[in-house]
């Protein structure tokens, strides 16, 4: 069965510092990988996704993630965070041959950006 592990439940960081949120998955078949963000009192929003092609994917607000098949990882990074990046971040996978596209989520990582 597929599973997703987010190794850090909370990541405190100062504003303008770099950050990495870790995500590892287990699957013996091809997967698609996603990062979702949940700002306080809002619904989940797609941040970025890897489907195929270049293993480095970027979002419009400066986040990037790299698919590493050998390490079964999809870590999220940002070189300089802002206060507004404070949120809950979820890594998720879906089975490449799924006929539903259901997502399997990690436990989430709370990013706390301090001034």
């Amino acid at each position: 069965a597929q599973s997703v592990t987010q190794l850090d439940s909370q990541v405190p960081v100062f504003e303008e510092a770099p950050v990495e949120l870790r995500c590892n998955y287990s699957s013996s078949v091809s997967v698609y990988l996603f990062w979702y963000v949940q700002y306080p009192n809002q619904g989940l929003q797609l941040l970025l996704k890897y489907l195929s092609g270049s293993t480095l994917v970027e979002s419009i607000n400066g986040f990037e993630a790299e698919f590493n098949k050998s390490q079964t990882s999809f870590h999220l990074r940002k070189p300089s965070v802002h206060i507004s990046d404070t949120a809950e971040y979820f890594c998720a996978v879906s089975h490449g041959s799924s006929n539903t596209g259901k997502l399997i989520f990690g436990q989430g990582t709370t990013l706390q950006v301090k001034p």
């Binding site: 809002q42 619904g43 929003q45 979820f90 596209g101 997502l103 399997i104 989430g108």
Partner: protein
């Protein structure tokens, strides 16, 4: 345009009561998903609809949980004889494509259910 909406946003039920949670997906979206998010956890898949057909209900935790989407748009998740372990946020998501893993899922704000 409107996103996915859910109602009510908050629901408090006494143990043993039945509840119904509503989801209005984005107009024209074929696929609809329900997820359950317990406190401090990531969302967990409950069930999937393609139009009005419920193609996957493998995540429903018991036969007290029932979902429907009779006209292929609005969906209702019903929980009978609620138990305290049912307390969670119930998320609805929709996507434009039918099935497949590549289509982005758009999430509603969720319904927070508290069972006393």
């Amino acid at each position: 345009g409107a996103g996915v909406s859910q109602s009510p946003r908050y629901k408090v039920a006494k143990r043993g009561q039945d509840v119904a949670l509503r989801c209005d997906p984005i107009s024209g979206h074929v696929s609809l998903f329900w997820y359950q998010q317990a406190l401090g956890q990531g969302p967990e898949f409950l069930t999937y609809f393609q139009n009005e057909a419920q193609l996957d209900k493998s995540g429903l935790p018991s036969d007290r949980f029932f979902a429907e989407r009779p006209e292929g748009s609005v969906s209702t998740l019903k929980i009978q004889r609620t138990q305290q372990e049912d307390s969670a946020v119930y998320l609805c998501a929709s996507s434009f494509q039918a099935g497949g893993s590549q289509s982005e899922q758009f999430f509603g704000p969720g319904t927070r259910l508290t069972v006393l």
